[in-house]
């Protein structure tokens, strides 16, 4: 080592003297003195200039280095000169390349390399070097090194910042104090739709919707005063004319001297965020204003939120109940169901309209309907449950009252029906006795009674028969109005008509009635009621005949959802004034002796038709005849 050092030193001094020798031979002493002065100055220049310089031999051995170089790397001269330059390069391949190029007579300009300082730090340098040769022989390099660490750091910083700016989701742009856009990142392109080429150089107001253009000078003024604008929410216009909600942060850009030369502007598109927060606010308002109690709890059953509806329903204020366990609200006999409900929620089940009992703050027990659904975090994990509680105490009570009233009504109806039926039946029994025994009396003792007695007895029998008819009709009427069983199947109205005509055979024959008919449909009416309907209507048509023999036509036609039946006659007709009245119970338009009847036939018809879901009416021209119509709904729609 020592030897090497000495050699290097001697070589160094040799180099110095050689130079002098090369210049000096043959000059006068003044010249020599002047040259020597120049020599000293040059030597000083090389030694003490503020630029690091060194000489390196062909093999890389450092032959000489000036003070600036030693200062740059922090080595004392004896730890640097004489060592191989490769020891001080951070990258081995780089110095190999440098030496290689130099050996090949290349002149390096601004070659970038990294040098290791004595304290371990790395310096970025820019190397300028070429080779001094004698007779073609590589003597040493002439290497000047610039420390570019700071520029490099700044460049990297700049690069990194640019990358950050470029990759930001926010729009980041800059403008000068005149509002002219100077830079434009990809985020800005994404949000506003303009490419940098399209917008740089344009005025910032290009981005403002017409009603917001006014705010631009204001913002610029604030910038000039050095103020920052933070999270200013406004609206901007995209290239395709959409209006978006943005949050702006604008800060002044200063030059190195601190003078404000423009502004950087970060614009965040908060349209979606704004929409979400509006939705959230709206939902919160709905929850808050709901009449139902809405609350949430965590999976341990601890109440987490509590709306005004809950406050009204249970009587607890939010600050009294939040943090308490949900079982606080259970009726004493329903506390057991809470763990089960929590378990179901934890498994992700929904609970819909679960009816149970809950207790208010003041101890009242409510019947409520619960709907509970899981609350999940953003990863879908169940973290609790929201619960809607509806007070159904009243509706429960009303429903119960309604059920009871219905049962009572049905019972009363059944009783009434039973009563009417039994009454008419039980009334009929003594009547039967009156009529039968009157006949018996007449048959066995008629001769002893005399003509007056026989006449009286005749009235007795007649009265009994009429009463009997009344009772029969009353029974039919109660049967027709009873909410009994619905008919099981359709009845063929043709057959019903056949049977009722058979029942009327005697009066048809006696009156000489001519009855015509069309094909009739099948309808959903009790068989015997359909028959009774025809029998009453045709019976009336015969009974209320004019002087001419009755002509009766029975027909049916489909209209919409109904079958319309008609029974038309050529009888005495009905004064239109009475066309409603004739269907009333016991309403009669004629005396019994004129036209015998109970006044119940049409009332029975009306009951039968209405029970089948139809209606009945009459159209008539007094003296020319009547047509009774009734509808029966079709079952095929």
């Amino acid at each position: 080592m020592d030897t090497l050092k000495r050699e290097v030193e001697s070589e160094e001094s040799m180099a110095g003297s050689k130079e002098v020798e090369r210049i000096s031979p043959g000059f006068s002493s003044e010249v020599a003195a002047a040259l020597s002065q120049r020599d000293r100055e040059q030597k000083d220049f090389l030694e003490n200039a503020a630029i690091p310089m060194h000489w390196v031999a062909e093999d890389g051995t450092i032959l000489w280095a000036n003070a600036a170089e030693l200062e740059l790397l922090g080595y004392p001269r004896d730890e640097y000169v004489g060592r191989n330059i490769a020891d001080f390069h951070a990258d081995g391949s780089v110095i190999a390349d440098i030496l290689n190029r130099l050996r090949n007579n290349e002149s390096l300009k601004g070659y970038e390399a990294r040098l290791r300082c004595r304290n371990g730090t790395i310096r970025d340098v820019s190397i300028n070097s070429n080779v001094y040769r004698e007779d073609g022989r590589f003597v040493h390099t002439r290497c000047i090194t610039f420390d570019v660490s700071e520029q490099k750091r700044i460049a990297e910083l700049h690069h990194r910042l640019s990358a950050i700016v470029e990759s930001s989701d926010d729009a980041i742009l800059s403008k000068d104090l005149n509002g002219i856009i100077r830079s434009w990142n990809r985020g800005a392109q994404r949000i506003f739709g303009y490419t940098a080429d399209e917008i740089v150089g344009k005025h910032i107001s290009t981005l403002a919707p017409p009603e917001r253009v006014d705010e631009i000078p204001n913002i610029l003024e604030r910038l000039i005063r050095g103020e920052r604008v933070d999270h200013y929410e406004t609206q901007r216009k995209t290239k395709d004319g959409r209006i978006i909600n943005v949050s702006l942060t604008v800060s002044p850009i200063r030059d190195a001297s601190g003078k404000i030369i423009g502004a950087s502007k970060v614009a965040r598109d908060i349209t979606e965020q704004k929409r979400m927060s509006e939705i959230q606010e709206r939902l919160a308002a709905i929850v808050e204003s709901s009449d139902d109690a809405i609350l949430s709890k965590d999976l341990n059953g601890i109440i987490q939120s509590w709306n005004r509806g809950a406050e009204r329903l249970f009587g607890y204020r939010a600050n009294e109940i939040i943090g308490k366990h949900i079982s606080t609200l259970a009726a004493p006999d329903r506390v057991d169901e809470i763990p089960d409900i929590l378990g179901r929620i934890a498994r992700g089940e929904c609970i819909d309209h679960y009816e149970t009992k809950r207790r208010t703050k003041d101890g009242r027990i409510l019947t409520v309907s619960l709907s509970i659904s899981a609350i999940r975090d953003s990863e879908g994990k169940i973290i609790g449950a929201s619960k809607v509680v509806r007070d159904i105490t009243d509706s429960e009570r009303q429903a119960q009252a309604l059920r009871e009233a219905n049962v009572a009504l049905r019972r009363a109806n059944a009783d009434l029906h039973q009563f009417a039926y039994s009454a008419s039946h039980d009334l009929q029994e003594p009547l039967r006795m009156v009529s039968t025994y009157s006949e018996l009396l007449k048959r066995e003792f008629g001769s002893k009674l005399g003509p007056a007695g026989e006449e009286y007895l005749g009235y007795t029998v007649q009265g009994a028969l009429r009463m009997e008819q009344l009772l029969r009709d009353l029974r039919a009427y109660t049967l027709a109005s009873a909410a009994g069983q619905e008919p099981e199947g359709d009845v063929d109205a043709n057959e019903s008509l056949d049977r009722s005509l058979a029942g009327l055979e005697a009066s048809i024959k006696e009156s000489g009635a001519a009855i015509t008919r069309t094909e009739l449909p099948h309808v959903r009416v009790h068989e015997f009621q359909m028959e009774q309907l025809f029998q009453n209507l045709i019976g009336n048509a015969i009974r209320y005949r004019s002087d001419e023999p009755p002509r009766i036509h029975v027909a049916a036609a489909r209209k919409g959802r109904d079958w319309i039946f008609s029974v038309a006659d050529n009888g005495i007709g009905i004064d239109p004034r009475y066309k409603e009245q004739v269907f009333e119970l016991f309403k009669r338009l004629h005396s019994f002796t004129e036209y015998p009847g109970t006044g119940m036939g049409l009332a029975i018809c009306q009951r039968i038709v209405e029970r089948a879901g139809g209606h009945i009416w009459v159209e008539s021209e007094p003296g020319r005849g009547s047509t009774f119509y009734f509808t029966i709904p079709c079952r095929d729609g």
Binding site: H425, Q428, E429, R432, M433, S435, T436, E439, R443
Partner: protein, 147 residues
């Protein structure tokens, strides 16, 4: 049956379950009018009819009646119950029964048919029609050939 045809017309054993004496009278007249020879035993409520049927089942020596004329609206136990009970009797489950009632309700007719009533006679208000009961009885017992 083992009765000899030569014994006809013998006395027909008829039980009438009827609480109305006026109807009992009419039944007798109807039977008389159609020359039925009969012994009429009148039971005036459903309970009595049930005991009568039970008595027959208990004592095999007692003769079974040839016919039951049964009013449906009887005190204590109604005619339908009586009829059901009778049809379950070992000894006289098969005797002909004419239901005698003023009811024309469908369910009464249906119940009667369900319990194998031989005939359903609706008590009419007309004397002549009531007298037709005699003919009905004659037909029923003739068909049965038991008296």
């Amino acid at each position: 049956m083992t009765r000899e045809p030569a014994n006809r017309p013998s006395t027909c054993q008829i039980v009438l379950a009827e609480d109305n004496p006026a109807d009992v009278m009419l039944v007798r007249r109807a039977l008389d009018e159609h020359a039925v020879t009969y012994d009429l035993r009148v039971l005036s409520d459903g309970e009595d009819v049930l005991s009568f049927v039970n008595g027959l089942d208990a004592d095999k020596k007692l003769p079974c009646p040839d016919l039951l004329l049964l009013d449906l609206y009887l005190p204590k136990r109604d005619g339908n119950e009586v009829l059901t009970h009778l049809r379950a009797s070992q000894r006289c489950g098969n005797i002909p029964v004419v239901v005698l009632t003023s009811s024309d309700a469908t369910w009464d007719r249906e119940n009667a048919a369900k319990n194998y009533a031989t005939h359903y006679f609706q008590k009419p208000s007309s004397l002549d029609k009531f007298m037709l009961l005699g003919r009905v009885v004659k037909e029923v017992i003739g068909r049965d050939e038991s008296c």
